[in-house]
Symmetry: none
Subunit: 231 residues, 4 copies
């Protein structure tokens, strides 16, 4: 049940366009263009402190540049945040496109899809935070975006085709809404990361162990499998 074509080696996704070691301030001789460095620094700072809590000074310090560059390249703090979100969604979309489940039988493909979603969220806590931040601000920063939006829903298409195949193969029951099923999976994968801090306080249990992660993945995989299983 574990053989998939996708990224079989557990979960260490190489964060697509994420810095390799940009925890400290950018080295003076950083070759990459200022705009990119700003985007990366901004991603980290917005994720760490929220939209209003992030401050431009921190971002530019971390990017090894100066404040006016933010305004030159992005127009405003809001523009910078919007650009960060575009990057986040761009990374997701690229990732979703790279998933190829066609070689697997439907049931196994679904398990693989769940796992891939699970791992992706686990590997990108900053992106989860950024999306939370965007939602707190009613997603107004992405509303205007041309690149994010409507047709981005690659997953839903993948899901739909997979469901159809499973139904055709007699391994899934019919009548399941692909978007809703994606929501069931995504919500679990997102929430366990996004809300882990409050959960850690409220429930007396360390939920951040590898064992927990494994058990949680199994739960959602199993729930999806059973939800789809024909009666």
């Amino acid at each position: 049940m574990r053989s998939t074509t996708v990224n079989d080696a557990a979960s260490p996704f190489p964060p697509p366009s994420q810095p390799r070691s940009r925890t400290a301030d950018a080295a003076p001789g950083d070759a990459r263009p200022v705009k990119m460095r700003l985007l990366e620094a901004a991603q980290a700072v917005f994720a760490a402190h929220g939209y209003s809590g992030a401050n431009i000074s921190d971002i530019v310090a971390q990017a090894g540049t100066t404040k006016p560059m933010v305004y030159y390249h992005f127009g405003s703090k809001e523009g910078l945040f919007a650009a960060v979100l575009e990057e986040v969604y761009g990374g997701m979309r690229a990732y979703e496109r790279s998933v190829d489940l066609t070689a697997l039988p439907a049931a196994e493909a679904m398990a693989a899809l769940v796992r891939v979603t699970f791992d992706y969220h686990a590997a990108h806590p900053d992106w989860i935070r950024l999306i939370s931040v965007a939602n707190i601000h009613n997603a107004r920063h992405i509303a205007a975006s041309a690149t994010i939006g409507s047709r981005n829903a690659t997953v839903v298409q993948v899901m739909q085709r997979l469901l159809e195949r499973g139904v055709a193969d007699g391994v899934f029951r019919p009548g399941v809404d692909p978007l809703h099923l994606h929501m069931l999976i995504a919500s679990f994968c997102f929430y366990r990361i996004s809300n882990r801090h409050t959960w850690s306080v409220i429930f007396d249990r360390n939920l951040n162990t590898a064992a927990e992660a494994r058990a949680q993945l199994e739960l959602v995989t199993e729930a999806v499998a059973r939800y789809l299983r024909p009666d």
Copy 2:
């Protein structure tokens, strides 16, 4: 399958300690104590703008009082936010305690529990936002709280007893972790509200209709039912 003893009248939960008509600024002659008015205003403003985005001036204006009152009653902005979060969790806990599922057969009780959780989240979007905000700040505002924390997990106990009863009655399969199952339910109920803004942008579908809500409730109810059903 829809008859429960709990809150059968659909879902319009009266927000426990939420203002009755506090959309505009507090009327000058508002009788309720300043501390309460501040708490309510703060809840609204923090929910609307995040922790750093909220500002004391707005809060006191909305509460119909003055800034020093915040420091008199709560010591600091952080203290005020912590107090708001205590209120949120206090309201939740109170609500969970009020749920009585003992009169129902296990399977129906579980459906009722799902529904109740679903409705509670739907009815309290501000609280969802506040919890998101708390998580973005690593829940450091509630970590110190004495009243929030550890033993608050009423739901988990309820869930555990319900699972045991269902297993005893032969309607649930054994071996299900109550905390994980609660996470499956809560994540869906939370996420569909918390992330609805980004979803509206990304997926070309209005997810905020009553029909959608019904379909989504059915999905999660069904998923839980099938997950628990003995093979």
Copy 3:
């Protein structure tokens, strides 16, 4: 021809609400309220550098207070400028009201009015600059003002009554528009101050001497007298 009831001692008008020695920064122990000190400092700085050229830091330094006080008391830089202009026009209006020409024969009263206008402008170069600044910005800062505007035109009423009296006495010819005549006088009195810097450069003549002032006053007085003289 020189006997008037108004301020016979040449021209040293005590600037009504202007500081006596506020050239340097406000002394720390300045008793007057911050708002007033700000207004005075702002008047000086706006007059000296124009609206955009003036900067809040200079103003607050000169007023012996801090930047937020500007925003607390006036809302914005624009609000401060508007308040300064209200003061300017308030001072003018107060001054105009104080002029009493009823005791003089019409022709002498007119000469007195001209002289008073001449002297007032000469004594308040800052106000002239402020009005120039206001006009460069299309007077949008005073457009909204309730206190400036319409009925402020005390001079015009004074002028009108004086013209009527002169006509009745047979010393003025009829049919003269009081507003236009006021414009003729005011324009000369204003312009000789407002444009003295460019004139000094363009015309090879020192126009800032006492003798010049005397000659100019005589010119405008004479021009008005001859303009009104019956044929």
Copy 4:
């Protein structure tokens, strides 16, 4: 009384070196040299916002070029403003030189000179604003100019010769200072434009109509005529 050789066709002066249709940004393929385009854009922007309120970005955008061009051609913002003022005074001087009053009898020539001055100011509100701006900054931008200054006073010479001729012809009284008389005329013509915004607010009367302009021109013409008339 209205027949003059100068510009009899009412008043629409073609603004000498003013753009033909430069209301919007310069078209990409604008053939005229960058320096000229900059000068025109700067004239408009400085007139609209004052010296400090004008910003280089706006100017270069409107001129369809880039910031370094300003520094290449004019050295600094101050240099650009100085160049604009030179243009303004250059335009005036050129205009004054073009006025030929020799063919008219002295009294009519004087009326023509008044009218020409009146019309010129009315046709160039931007230049009036620029001169106001220069004065607010104590004319320091033109002080250093070689081309502006001292001997530019063509008008005064014209005036002087005209006065002499009138005296000789017995139609003007002697002893009138040409510079002062020019000041009387210029102040009125300048002020009615420069201060029209504040006047519109203060006096409850629309002073920008054609009828008003006619009446005002008549006023100043008449005042000058009566001022010069031998007793």
